[in-house]
């Protein structure tokens, strides 16, 4: 994974950036979004365009953040990539397959803002749910499930029910569940949106630690600029009415990024630039 050309090109401009040698290697495209349009019929019969001719790609091993105001269609785009909805026009491909085919092989992990745990299942059995849905044996995976629970810091809570856990702990269970199939693409839909600022930072650091182990291609939808800049290799900025991509910004900070980055002036420069893009390109 470390020799992945796509990652070398996009994520780490600091170590030699776009030398002709690396640029010549064609990066592998994991997610292709091609002229995607999505419209809904609202209650009054009016057609609302949630996404208007959106095109982008996500490369293998890339961590991409998608930010934008509410109603810009960022969650809709994520649902299209997850195969949970179908585009009205255009095409979504994940590793050259339709999202549904890709998902049915257990190649996708997903985390929502709401942990969406089944309240009657213990932590262990919630993490095992994807395996059961895929019809895979759970028993041989017991050690793997245990290691995931320990990785997200929930050792000792294997048999606890979701109702006995705090909000942050439940979200950790959801992350472990998303990783249980060793996915090749992870989608995160405002995963820490319901957590307070302090817990959010802790979870951001942990997410980076988990991500650095496998360098799995990841798409994070968020409305927190700091979170996007801290975690992502590239930030895609969207605007509403109609939902569209207005800018893509490369975040060049080297990894692993630690907490000191949050107070780095360069970090704030990036954040301010994104904020001005979000506010419709006004000067800040």
């Amino acid at each position: 994974m470390g020799a992945d050309p796509g990652r070398a090109l996009i994520a780490s401009p600091s170590n030699g950036s776009s030398s002709p040698a690396t640029a010549a290697l064609a990066p592998t495209v994991d997610v292709l979004v091609d002229h995607v349009e999505k419209s809904f019929v609202a209650n009054g019969g009016k057609v609302v365009t949630a996404l208007d001719k959106v095109s982008t790609t996500i490369l293998r091993g890339e961590f991409v953040a998608l930010i934008g105001p509410s109603g810009c269609g960022k969650s809709t785009l994520l649902r299209l990539i997850a195969g949970l909805d179908e585009p009205t026009e255009g095409m979504v491909r994940v590793r050259s397959e339709s999202p549904k085919t890709f998902c049915a092989r257990g190649e996708l992990g997903i985390v929502f803002q709401d942990p969406a745990l089944l309240p009657w299942r213990s932590v262990r059995h919630n993490v095992a749910l994807p395996l059961e849905v895929l019809g895979r044996p759970v028993k041989p995976a017991a050690a793997h499930i245990q290691s995931l629970i320990e990785m997200v810091g929930l050792k000792g809570f294997e048999d606890a029910l979701p109702g006995q856990l705090s909000g942050g702990m439940r979200q950790r269970v959801a992350i472990a569940r998303a990783l249980v199939t060793n996915p090749s693409l992870i989608l995160l839909d405002e995963p820490f949106g319901a957590l307070d600022q302090i817990l959010r930072r802790t979870m951001n650091l942990e997410l980076q630690r988990i991500w650095l182990r496998e360098l799995t291609t990841t798409l994070l939808v968020t409305h927190a600029i700091e979170e996007a800049v801290f975690l992502a290799d590239r930030v895609i900025v969207m605007q509403a009415n109609p939902g569209r991509i207005v800018e893509e910004v490369i975040i060049p900070f080297p990894r692993p990024r630690d907490e000191s980055l949050f107070s780095d002036p360069k970090f704030h420069q990036r954040c301010d630039r994104l904020a001005s893009l979000l506010h419709g390109g006004e000067e800040h």
Binding site: A82, L84, A104, I110, F112, L118, L129, P130
Partner: protein, 518 residues
Amino acid sequence: MTRLLRTALAILVVLALWEAAARAGVLGGRVVPAPSGILFDWWTQRADYALHIAATAKAAALGFLIGNGVAILCAVLFILAPSIERLSRGVTITLFAVPAITIGQVLVVAYDGIVPQVALSAICVYFPTMVATLIGLREIDPRASDVVRVYGGDSLCILRYVRLRAALPGLLAGLKVAAPAALLGAILAEFGSGSRWGLGTFLLGSLGQANAARLWGIGLSATAVAALGYAIFALGARRVLGATLSVTLAANSAPDRLGSYRLGRPGQRVLMAIGALALPFVVWWAAPRILGLNPIIARDPIDTFHYLALDNGAATARAALLSALSSTLPAAGLGLLLGLAAAFLLASLSVLRPELARLLLPPSLVLQTMPLVALTPMIVLIFGRDLAAMLAVTITVVFFPAYVTLAQGFSLTPPAALDVVRCYGDRPVKSLLLVSVPFSLPYVFAAARLVAPRALLGAMIAEFLATGTGLGQLLNASRGQLDYGMIWATAFASVVVAILAYQAVGLVERLATSGRES
């Protein structure tokens, strides 16, 4: 444990006071006998009681199993194929609104033996269980089903991993309400059946004897059996959920909570609505033919139309039906309004004085499931055999379920909204009028829809057993005279009235709460 002890102690104190009052002659021995008298009569007749209770309980249990099996299967089918649910909504509302006593009379003339009882029990059980299960299956965490879908899970997979288990508390709450309903069905189908054993037969046989202790014994026995069924599932629900109060609402809800989604284009929706309206008639026309019933006994919609509009005696039949309706409806309507008003008043007072709710809610939860037949003889003893008795029965059957629904509605008022008022001084009456009452308005209508059909059933049972007037009497008399056309016409009229009342409540609700977010 101490709570259990305190409850037991309270019951003992009440019994002691009752005994003392009865002995002192305050209650009038011919109306309310002393507990010891009831117990003594029960003991001397214990062999008979055992046979009567066993006969009714057996039929109720069979109907309970069959009806719930069908209800659960239907709920699962409806969740997998929403258009079938849409189409059968007319049948569902009919099953909810139909006064069980009319189906009982129809079944009694068509079948012998235990069949009418089992069938009516199954019919009484179907609605509460189906709705509670359907709501449980439908109201799941949408993200949880997204998680299953992300791994390629189809709707069967979502059913298996998410819906079925999520519906369990709702199902148990439904069964809790269904258990007493099964008993009520079994008893109502004994009226006019000529069966030798059963609590209904026993009740009819004892009504003429003016034996107060016997009537109270029968009523209390039926209540005890119903309460036992209720308690079994209440305990089960508590084990599954830990909360008993919040789940009763789903099982007690009227059919309006069925459809919270839209389906298809407008044209399609109109077709669906027409289909839903026509299906009950199709079932009415086809079911007797499929079951191979004698067409003389089982009249279909066309026969009934002929009977009321075209036949020789049509004018007389219409006059008899209209006169019965004009006698039943005012009493049922008045009882409904008074019962609702009393429930609303007490539920509002419970907001100001929470200790009142703590006192009233537990017995109301049990009493709302008490079979109304069990109630009627006691009320007849107290109020006699005229309009007062009818009103008393109707008000009683309306009050308890309405009070439970309204108390829950009031308790769901958002605390933050109450705090806003409290910030401008502690004025409980103001906060009741400004916040709690408007917030509970949807529950007032939910309660009205829930109890409107019960009011009609209560009035008809009172007429059948006590006053000898109105629709209840018309049913009873036409069965005696083998006037099958009139039985079906009466059944049809009572169903139409119940459904119209139900729809009228819906209309008023839409007017009163328009613009609110649902």
